[in-house]
């Protein structure tokens, strides 16, 4: 009987097999398979379920203290070079396996309700299974190259899922943007991997780390080059984990169906970058410069995300920017040399953010009953309000999520965020200050979301406001105004059990999982890094812990209080108090720091212009010379032969045109 670790390869293969089977079915027997909704869903859910069971078995084994397992085979070879692929199971991987499968499973159950009326139900489940498979493959990769393979596959699945509703222009653009921005990161990652391989002759994490140090001490690689290579590799995680300035794809990716936003853009895919940085700790730790860059990038990101989240009116976008911000915290932890803290925040965040996103999906689903299937309306908080009356499960779990992310003890977010802030306080006090301030902003914007959505009075039937929003989005109010209004419900309803159950299930870890990582006895730390956990527990003192923890709780409470005053009690009119007084800041935030504009002007338009001018050169200069040569040969015997066949007249005409074009071109230039 093989042990679970030896069977770990099955964890990504099971969902992959299911997805391939259904995918082939969709291509060959489209109608039949599309009609078999429930059986297909059941098949794929059981595939992921099987992977989940196996993952938990692997995790249990690791908890019991099993040694890491690694299995490799020769994948490609040429000359003296061999490339090995395989899988590796260790504590870090086991934690991620359990996390990814759990959330994937819950999201799939949820999707059964959320996507029930969608034409692409079967396709959606196939993509979900494919995505889970790629992410699980990434987690058990034994070397950088295999990570790169799955890294790209995860990116591809994200492309497919964001562009799921392909008849929407927004989705099409967002999908492409997500893929291309990620490719920009992969560009650095690929070059970094190549460079590290050149320097160390290995793709393995530990080997690269030790051999790189060896190469530096023997003088064959300078420290500057090594730092550069590390930073190139870091470009990959920057794109995938939405770090500034490559975060621009994540908020746009909210165009995908909401379960995807929960799975990919909150809990798992964006975690890949953080996970890779954790895996690369043996490489990064010896370079304080690299650590500093990671920490600074993380800090910029956490502040940027939170600041933009302050003004968002779209529920999902607000959550998206909060994800960006929280990913910044994780990177900050990595930069402080505290991978355990970063991974711990990744785990707690995955639970409560998945819950929040699924909750927002539940809200949007309910809002669609009232305002119709128009994302501009269904996701705008100006049309929500008072939903708590009709949606008790969603509102309660959302409230728990808000408490958790704001860092109110003893919920999950408190422990993990506090650990990061504690580490930052020790390593980079200045960055700690930014993180500390952002904790207050986090509490504010989360409770702003909560109050606007669930408290107050319901504004969904205000057709004037609807028309105004549609016009603002450039979609024209008239046609939609006619279509809606009469056929829709008066107020939203709570979602069905498929959607409510995952919310309730996720609420449990959102409250409790933090207790696994209390600083004086961190079970999480003991699993990932027993030595460090023991050290931390030994040096733990309430005298150090309480002031810092107290400070972060206080600033969170301040943030919540402001939100309560402004959005629940309406005692504070932020629009006049802040927005009117500092219009520049407000505009700056509402335009998301103008990053999309800069990106568009500089890169999108720039590359288009460059491409067009290269094409001009190609068709006028290069081809012009060719046609000119053709004209010259027409004078010779070779050309006469073509004249006789009668085909050359046309050719001569073209050549003539080519010469004219050339003349004109030179005329324009000179």
């Amino acid at each position: 009987m093989p042990s679970p670790a030896e069977l770990a390869w099955l964890i990504p293969v099971l969902p992959l097999a299911g997805a391939c089977l259904v995918g082939l079915g969709l291509i060959s027997f489209n109608r039949t398979i599309n009609r078999l909704r429930k059986p297909v869903a059941l098949l794929l859910i059981s595939c992921v379920g099987g992977a989940a069971v196996l993952s938990y078995a692997v995790l249990a084994q690791q908890l019991a203290g099993a040694a890491p397992t690694e299995v490799l085979f020769n994948w490609a070879s040429a000359g003296s070079f061999t490339l090995e692929m395989g899988f590796r199971v260790d504590a870090l991987g086991a934690v991620m396996l359990a996390l990814v499968t759990t959330i994937a499973l819950l999201v799939m159950v949820y999707s059964d309700g959320y996507m029930a009326h969608d034409k692409g139900y079967v396709r959606f489940f196939t993509y979900l299974a494919l995505f889970s498979s790629s992410m699980l493959g990434l987690v058990i990769s034994p070397n950088l190259l295999e990570i790169y393979v799955f890294w790209e596959l995860v990116g591809m699945c994200s492309y497919l899922l964001v562009g799921f509703w392909y008849d929407r222009d927004g989705a099409a653009n967002a999908a492409q943007k997500a893929f291309v921005v990620n490719r920009v990161g992969d560009f650095g990652l690929l070059l970094g991997i190549l460079g590290l391989f050149w320097a160390t002759g290995s793709f393995g994490f530990e080997e690269i780390g030790s051999r790189l140090q060896g190469a530096i001490s023997s003088g064959s690689v300078s420290t500057g080059v090594a730092v550069l290579l590390c930073l190139l590799v870091f470009m990959g995680p920057m794109a995938k984990s939405a770090q500034f300035p490559l975060h621009v794809w994540l908020p746009d990716a909210m165009e995908g169906p909401t379960p995807i936003s929960a799975l990919i853009h909150a809990a798992t895919m964006v975690a890949a970058g953080v996970f890779l940085v954790a895996r690369l700790q043996p490489v990064y730790v010896p370079f304080p410069q690299v650590q500093l860059v990671i920490a600074v990038v993380g800090t910029i990101t956490l502040f940027l995300g939170a600041s933009i989240a302050l003004t968002q009116m779209d529920l999902k976008k607000g959550l998206a920017y909060s994800t960006v911000s929280q990913l910044g915290y994780m990177m900050l932890a990595m930069g402080c040399g505290a991978p355990v803290a970063g991974m711990f925040h990744l785990v707690t965040h995955a639970f409560f953010k998945a819950m929040l996103f699924l909750g927002s999906g539940s809200v949007i689903h309910a809002m669609e009953e009232v305002v119709g299937h128009e994302p501009v309306l269904a996701q705008d908080m100006r049309l929500m309000g008072g939903l708590r009356r009709w949606m008790p499960v969603t509102s309660t779990t959302f409230f728990i999520g808000c408490l958790a992310i704001s860092g109110i003890p003893p919920l999950a977010g408190f422990w993990s965020k506090d650990e990061i802030l504690g580490q930052a306080f020790g390593s980079f006090p200045l960055l700690w200050a930014a993180g500390f301030l952002t904790a207050g902003m986090t509490a504010f914007y989360m409770f702003r979301l909560y109050f606007l959505t669930f408290e107050g009075s319901f504004r969904g039937n205000d057709s004037a406001l609807q028309a105004q929003l549609l016009t603002a989005a450039g979609k024209g109010g008239d046609e939609h105004g006619d279509g809606h209004g009469h056929s829709h419900a008066e107020h939203p309803h709570e979602s069905g059990w498929q959607m409510a159950m995952p919310l309730a299930v996720l609420a449990v870890p959102s409250v409790l999982v933090g207790l696994l990582g209390v600083p004086w006895n961190s079970r999480f730390g003991q699993l990932l890094d027993p030595q460090e956990a023991a050290e931390v527990a030994e040096h733990f003192s309430w005298g150090e812990f309480l002031p810092l923890a107290g400070a972060s709780v206080t600033i969170s409470l301040v943030g919540i209080t402001v939100a309560v005053l402004a959005y629940a009690l309406h005692r504070l009119d932020l629009a006049t108090a802040v927005a009117a007084r500092f219009p520049a800041i407000n505009r700056f935030l509402a335009n998301k720091w103008y990053l999309d504009e800069i990106n568009d002007k500089l890169f999108v338009q720039g590359s288009r212009k460059l491409a067009r001018s290269v094409l001009e050169v190609d068709s006028k200069v290069v081809d012009g010379v060719v046609n000119l040569t053709g004209l010259v040969t027409l004078g010779s015997g070779e050309g006469l032969k073509y004249f006789e066949t009668g085909r050359a007249q046309f050719y001569a005409l073209i050549v003539f045109g080519g010469v004219i074009a050339l003349v004109v071109l030179f005329g324009v230039l000179g």
């Binding site: 490609a76 040429a78 393979v149 893929f179 190549l194 023997s218 064959s220 094409l615 050719y651």
Partner: protein, 543 residues
Amino acid sequence: MPLDFAATLAAATAQASSTAFPWLSAAILFPIAAALCIPFVPDKGDGKQVRWFALGVALITFLLTVGGYLNGYDPSNPNLQLVEKVSWLPDLGLAWSVGADGLSMPLILLTSFITALAVLAAWPVSFKPRLFYFLLLAMDGGQIAVFAVQDMLLFFLAWELELLPVYLLLAIWGGKKRQYAATKFILYTAGSSLFILLAGLAMAFYGGHVSFDYTELMAKDFPAKFQLLAYAGLLIAFGVKLPIVPLHTWLPDAHGEATAPVHMLLAGILLKMGGYALLRFNCQILPDAHAVFAPLLVVLGVVNIIYAALTSFAQRNLKRKIAYSSISHMGFVLIGIGSFSALGSSGAMLQMVSHGLIGASLFFLVGATYDRTHTLQLDEMGGVGQRMRKMFALWTVCSLASLALPGMSGFVSELMVFVGFATDDAYTLPFRVAVDGLAAIGVILTPIYLLSMLREIFYGQEKAELVAHTQLVDAEPREIYIIGCLLVPIIGIGLYPRLMTDTYRATMEQLVARDERAMKALNGPVGSSALIRQAPLRAPGLG
């Protein structure tokens, strides 16, 4: 006259095949002989009978090549195998000499495979079907001959004979500008063939005795200047075929006018003739010159990748877009050939096979889409995905394969070139960094133009005008089957590259070792070429 030619050859091979079955000769001559029988196939003129005949012939040819691979080919042997040699015109030193080593075998298999699928892709052809299938089958034999012959004169004949079917296929079945495209194609390639002939004759007549045989040419000790001249001539000739920027402008025109099956052959096989010939002649027979020219190949490869990717991005015509993407992908072949590492050269070979499969699939899809939309202008398409969902899925898979998604063959070949070049001691570190860095820009540009293309064809709202004037029926089983057949090796190689690389590994290692020796000799004490190539620098950390 062609009949005579075939008969003579058939008789000649019959003599030689006293011991073993002549797999390669059969694979070359059978489709040509069968093509000559096409006039006698009963057919009403609509092509409905003759297409079955052609498909059968193409399949049998494919089986013949597979049979040769399984029965007479040992991948661990780096030397020539499946050799058949018959003296043909002794006065001219001409011999019917075929054989296969690691450079030939993968491409022979690719040729017969793609041609069989191209025949299936040509199913709806109803205009002069007999002639069409005749040309397809003649091309099949001719192309296998290009890869299998071991005699330079024979190679030249096969190379030239190849032009005629392509010219006719373009000129008769092409689009609106077909005359221009066909003429341009023939002028380009015929002009460049002149260089092959000159270089070939010079090489054959050099030294004591006259011989066109590859092995004997390899044994000749050409002086450096001679090698450089011959190399330059051959580079221009093969550079047109590959194509290398700026010798590429025939390709977008030819591709822009060709029909889908011809497309598949052009992209799938014809371009590979250039890469194959570069390996066979420039690297194998002229190693000293290769040592000098290799950096140029690498630089041209980088130019190909970036230049063609940018042009492809700006193209509004679908066929031309994919045509330029082909040019971009062939850049990796050049970099791989120019690297003095077994890994990089293997990557170049794999990229040829991989692009043959992926390019054929994309061009087939272009044709199938054009049949429905009747336009190739991206501005006139949009939202097509709602009515053509299976087509959308096939397009997506093939585009992802083309942008080198892991799990598919393109990723492995590009990765091998990247790693091979990065760890290549022959070049200085800054040069390697620059080349890998610039080539990696292609990694960003490729998805930009391919995904933009998908977005403009399939995503978004349906274009009312397009829907009103066309019948957007979804992919039919035949089309799915063709793409399915192409995807099997694409994904197979992507998952386990040794399926393909082991076929040619031994030969490639031998070839690279030879080139590397020449390169090291060049970098010896006296080096007038020190300006071109810098002294080798050992990579640290690599024993």
